[in-house]
């Protein structure tokens, strides 16, 4: 996984609540057996017309947001299906940070597994960032995960954000969860020994 330390890029405003994972990437794109190549289908129904041409009003079809690396959205972003194709599509498009007042749990977890930073902020701060992303001449923000700060294009004071220490460490170091867990294989083995004794019916070939 690619480490996340600082990110400087254009932020695209998407002032919508309950952006579900079907909206982020429709089910027909889930037939892939790869993790890559989904960026073209990100927000497909909002982004393209029936004939495949771009909808000019959609934010990611406008300059400078075509090259957005940050997305600012409304409440409950990523609700619905568990599909990791949603963060894969964001990542493949080039978005590595999503800022919203709240996220659905599964999507939120999936982000960290892919080096994407989801930032939760109070609504008033979201509103301020949304305005800046819409109105600033050059809506380029810097996300500093080390300092837990968002540096704004307007020169206004940076916005501080919180993140649990474990997720922050994993992102900063680009750590592989499985590798870390396997270092605790002995503890897993001990647990299984106890469970096999107490609840042998959970072991089908016991």
């Amino acid at each position: 996984m690619q480490a996340f330390t600082t990110l400087t890029g254009v932020a695209a405003p998407l002032p919508m609540i309950n952006v579900d994972t079907d909206k982020i990437i429709p089910a027909k794109w889930l037939k892939t057996i790869k993790r890559t190549g989904l960026g073209v289908a990100l927000f497909e129904s909002m982004r393209y017309n029936e004939d495949g041409s771009e909808k000019p009003d959609f934010v990611l079809n406008k300059e400078p947001y075509r090259n957005a690396e940050i997305l600012i959205a409304g409440d409950n972003f990523g609700c619905g299906s568990s599909r990791e194709h949603a963060p894969w599509a964001l990542l493949d498009f080039g978005i590595r940070c999503v800022i919203a007042p709240s996220f659905a749990d599964i999507f939120y977890n999936n982000c960290f597994k892919n080096g994407i930073l989801p930032i939760v902020l109070p609504q008033d701060e979201i509103d301020a960032l949304m305005r800046e992303a819409e109105q600033a001449q050059n809506p380029t923000f810097t996300i500093d995960l080390e300092k837990k700060e968002i540096v704004r294009p307007t020169g206004n004071a940076p916005i501080h954000f919180e993140l649990d220490p474990h997720s922050r460490k994993c992102l900063l170091e680009g750590l592989d969860d499985i590798g870390q867990t396997l270092e605790r294989a002995a503890a897993i083995g001990t647990f299984e020994g106890g469970q096999r004794r107490d609840q042998p019916w959970l072991y089908r070939e016991a």
């Binding site: 309950n18 889930l30 057996i33 474990h166 605790r184 897993i188």
Partner: protein, 468 residues
């Protein structure tokens, strides 16, 4: 005296492998269900790292999302779908995971077959790369959906890194009125707490109404926990739970069964256990529910009307309703019962079980699906289909004009050919009414199986209680 604990706390505590100083817990996973859509990249990851599946005996795989629900003798026509299903078959062979293939009578929706096989058991932790894994909570199991990276993590380690969720109890009290079902209860709950109301929580459903539900009804309730934002729903196991599981192929047998039941009886929340949040719902006030918008929280009683965005103060919410109504092709203030439909979809992990089919058969026997409506019934599993046919339900359905199909996820998410066309309006027993969910431009109204039957017969979102 030991501290009073909730059902959730008992399961959580008994699955802690390791607790880190930063509050991240490593929890053990007892049961892992796998399907074709969210697993290929996980198996690929194992292969690239030279890792094995740690507990093949705790893992069960089935293709369900992509499979055709019509004639399967010629295989899958769509190439990408076929490759995905074949990839699952290949991965299961390579890693020694048990698979119910597409032509196995036990094949079906992953959340229908887990309970059906007795793979789902009380007191266990169950995961699957699918958000509706919450279904299995009906058995008193801590069950939740995970992403593909976590699927790989569970395959390799049989554990997951998790933060301890908060707990919420939803007490459903009073008497459930005639014509209302588990589906109406959960839709009313989502309407009350909102689509993010359960975010960060594990919800335990309690109260007389929940106790009175069959296992099928309890599964419907837990299934849609995720539509309220809760990754997991829970219902305490009781005699109904044990009766459902007894004799299932993968359930414990003999002395192990007795030992298991005596353990399961210790699981219900202790008297005096506390929750981070409590919600009460009076079932007596529920009427058959229908969604009008593009979020499961956009729900109203069948005698109600499509909402008027002008009456909503919050600008973001108003914009959201306006967008939904435009997508749904609905005028504000239209009575729900006047909304005409083109299709009916009966099935899914929410309402594709035998009890659902029996309810529908009871309502449509000797009647006809409205001329203007195409109505399909997709059983949740091959065994549900078989059972329905044993009972003659398929004959009732076909005589009434329903299309009786093979098991799978089907039009719930439209990954196979079963899809709505742009602008088509569907009364659906599934779980999500998101834009484009059942096909690009398709318009979904979530309802109970009984209400879906009423819609099929009348060609509109009719009140099942008024059905002659």
């Amino acid at each position: 005296m030991a501290t009073a604990r909730t059902l959730f706390e008992k399961i959580w505590d008994s699955h802690l492998v390791d607790q880190q100083p930063d509050a991240t817990a490593l929890i053990y996973i007892d049961r892992h269900l796998v399907h074709e859509v969210t697993s290929p990249q996980a198996f690929e990851g194992l292969r690239n790292a030279g890792r094995k599946v740690r507990r093949p005996d705790a893992t069960l795989a089935v293709p369900d999302h992509n499979v055709p629900t019509s004639d399967r003798s010629k295989g899958i026509a769509d190439e990408t779908s076929r490759i995905q299903v074949e990839t699952l078959e290949k991965n299961c062979r390579e890693f020694g995971v048990q698979l119910f293939g597409m032509n196995d009578v036990r094949q079906g929706i992953v959340h229908v077959i887990g309970p059906e096989q007795g793979f789902t058991l009380p007191g266990t932790t169950i995961v699957c790369g699918d958000s509706h894994t919450s279904t299995h909570g009906a058995f008193g199991a801590l069950a939740f959906g995970i992403g593909t990276s976590e699927v790989e993590h569970v395959l390799a380690t049989q554990t997951l890194l998790q933060k301890r969720p908060k707990t919420m109890r939803i007490n459903v009290v009073g008497d459930l009125p005639v014509g209302c079902t588990a589906k109406d209860v959960i839709l009313a709950i989502i309407g009350q707490i909102g689509t993010a109301g359960g975010t960060g929580y594990v919800v335990e459903y309690a109260g007389d109404v929940i106790r009175g539900l069959s296992m099928e009804g309890r599964m419907t309730i837990c299934n849609m926990s995720i539509e309220a934002g809760a990754r997991a729903g829970l219902i305490a196991p009781d005699e109904k739970t044990f009766a459902y599981l007894k004799g299932r192929p993968m359930a414990p047998k003999g002395a192990a069964w007795e030992a298991a039941v005596s353990y399961w009886k210790t699981l219900p929340s202790d008297e005096g256990a506390t929750y981070d949040k409590e919600v009460v719902l009076d079932a007596a006030e529920i009427e058959p529910q229908v969604t009008w918008g593009t979020s499961p929280q956009d729900v109203v009683g069948v005698t109600g009307r499509v909402p008027d965005p002008k009456a909503v103060k919050d600008a973001e919410r108003r914009a959201s309703i306006e967008r939904s109504l435009q997508y749904m092709g609905l005028e504000p203030n239209t009575p729900i019962e006047e909304v005409r439909i083109d299709k009916v979809f009966i099935g899914s992990c929410t309402n594709g079980r035998i009890e659902d089919l029996r309810v529908i058969a009871g309502l449509v026997k000797g009647k006809k699906v409205a001329q203007s409506v195409e109505a399909m019934i997709v059983p949740g599993s091959g065994l549900v289909k078989h059972q329905a046919e044993e009972e003659g339900l398929d004959v009732v359905f076909k005589e009434a004009g329903f299309d009786w199909r093979e098991a799978g996820c089907s039009m719930c998410l439209g990954m196979n050919p079963d899809q709505l066309k742009p602008g088509e309006r569907c009364a659906s027993t599934s779980n999500r009414n998101f834009e484009g969910r059942q096909g690009k431009g398709g318009r979904t109204h979530l309802v109970s199986p009984a209400m879906a039957a009423a819609a099929a017969l009348t060609g509109r979102l009719a009140d099942v209680r008024k059905l002659a």
